[in-house]
Amino acid sequence: MDFNATIIGQTIAMAFFVWFCMKYIWPPLTAALDERAAKIEEGLAAGEKAIAAQAEAEKTAEKFIDEARHQAQDIIDNANKRASSIVDEAKTDAIKERERQLTAAKSEIEQEINRAKSELRGQVSAIALSSAEKILQREIDASAHNELLNKLAAEI
């Protein structure tokens, strides 16, 4: 363990190495490290923000879906209402039509009956007249009693 000039040599070497490190190694390395740390921090913050934005978007989407669901429900309800009202209308129309046709048929039948009655009346009076004619031909002048006979036919 003897001291010698190696101490001086080593001191100079160390001074040089430290100087070189201070000048050309430490600053760029720490600068890069700091920059990367900042970048990572930024990235993490951006990620967090993106997550929040996604949650927000999901909420918005849900709102839209809800609205759409409500609208669809409304549309269905309206359609149902409309359909039932159409059916009701059709029903009342049908009932009216039926009544209308019924009354028309009834009046036609009545007319037919009346026509048949008057025809019958005519025929009966004619038959009665002819039979009376036959009976009275010998006794009654047709012309003298015509007035009476017409009265009879009208009564019948």
Partner: protein, 280 residues
């Protein structure tokens, strides 16, 4: 490997040979190799060579990364280097609260450089010396930190920086107060004033010892650990075939010492310089 050599050398010669630096000095105007006992103007060529070479390994390794470093995705090697830088940076931020452009690079240099120098201890003790002998170099000590000159030089640099920053931050008066006003505050009034010189003398002796002990312990701790480790590797290398498991075991244990001592040297450097920056 030792067996063949033992034919030519005794055990103690073998050990001595391994612990001898390759030295050069001027004797009578000529370069003399390994005849420099007691001459201060001697250079331990092997220590200097390996220290500087490993220092350049550090510079080239880290500079190559620093040049290409970007904030993008790092390569594996870049990540490894940056991990070391980050580790040192965190240590500095822990132990040093003032602002300084020097302290962090200093700590990084010390940590990596000392680590690399310590790591040479894991190269089997005979490999490089035998190779050197083959090409005509008689001595070759490959672990610079087992040379007390190397560790002392580094602790002296730290010591000088401590003094420089103490003077810069606290001023000459403030710095001197650390010696005579601590740890016992001298009485400043009344009858106690009589004892003030005594207290001051006591403080100065205590603080001076403590102050000088810092660089001394810093360098001797590193030197002692590595020197002892190296010596045990040499002793293990002497015992023949059984050295293999023993060597492995000691190497594994020594791996801890290698990293730990580098870390301790760096950490204490940070602490000492941090104290130099602190106001009382």
């Amino acid at each position: 490997m030792a067996a063949a050599e033992q034919g030519a050398r005794t055990t103690s010669q073998y050990i001595e040979h391994h612990l001898q630096n390759l030295q050069v000095c001027r004797v009578d105007g000529e370069w003399a190799w390994n005849q420099c006992q007691g001459n201060f103007w001697t250079l331990n060529v092997d220590s200097m060579f390996w220290a500087v070479a490993l220092g350049f390994v550090f510079l080239i390794m880290f500079r190559s990364v620093a040049k290409r470093s970007t904030a993008g995705v790092p390569t594996r090697f870049q990540a490894a280097v940056e991990a070391v830088v980050h580790f040192v940076d965190a240590s500095v931020k822990d132990g040093f609260h003032a602002k300084s452009n020097l302290i962090a690079p200093l700590a990084l240099t010390i940590f990596v450089w000392v680590f690399l120098m310590n790591l040479m201890d894991l190269v089997p003790v005979d490999w490089i010396p035998l190779l050197a002998e083959k090409i005509g170099i008689p001595y070759m000590k490959v672990v610079p930190t087992t040379d007390v000159n190397v560790t002392f030089a580094m602790s002296i640099v730290v010591f000088l920086l401590t003094i420089y920053y103490s003077l810069k931050v606290k001023g000459a008066w403030g710095f001197s107060k650390e010696f005579w006003a601590h740890p016992i505050a001298p009485p400043s009034s009344g009858i106690g004033l009589l004892f003030a010189p005594l207290v001051i003398a006591f403080n100065i002796i205590l603080e001076t010892v403590a102050f000088v002990a810092k660089p001394l312990s810093l360098s001797l701790r590193l030197f002692g650990n590595l020197y002892a480790g190296e010596l045990i590797f040499i002793l293990i290398a002497l015992i023949g075939l059984w050295q293999l498991p023993l060597h492995f075991g000691w190497a594994v244990f020594h791996l801890l010492v290698v990293v730990l001592q580098a870390f301790v040297f760096m950490m204490l450097t940070i602490v000492y310089l941090g104290l130099a920056h602190e106001h009382h």
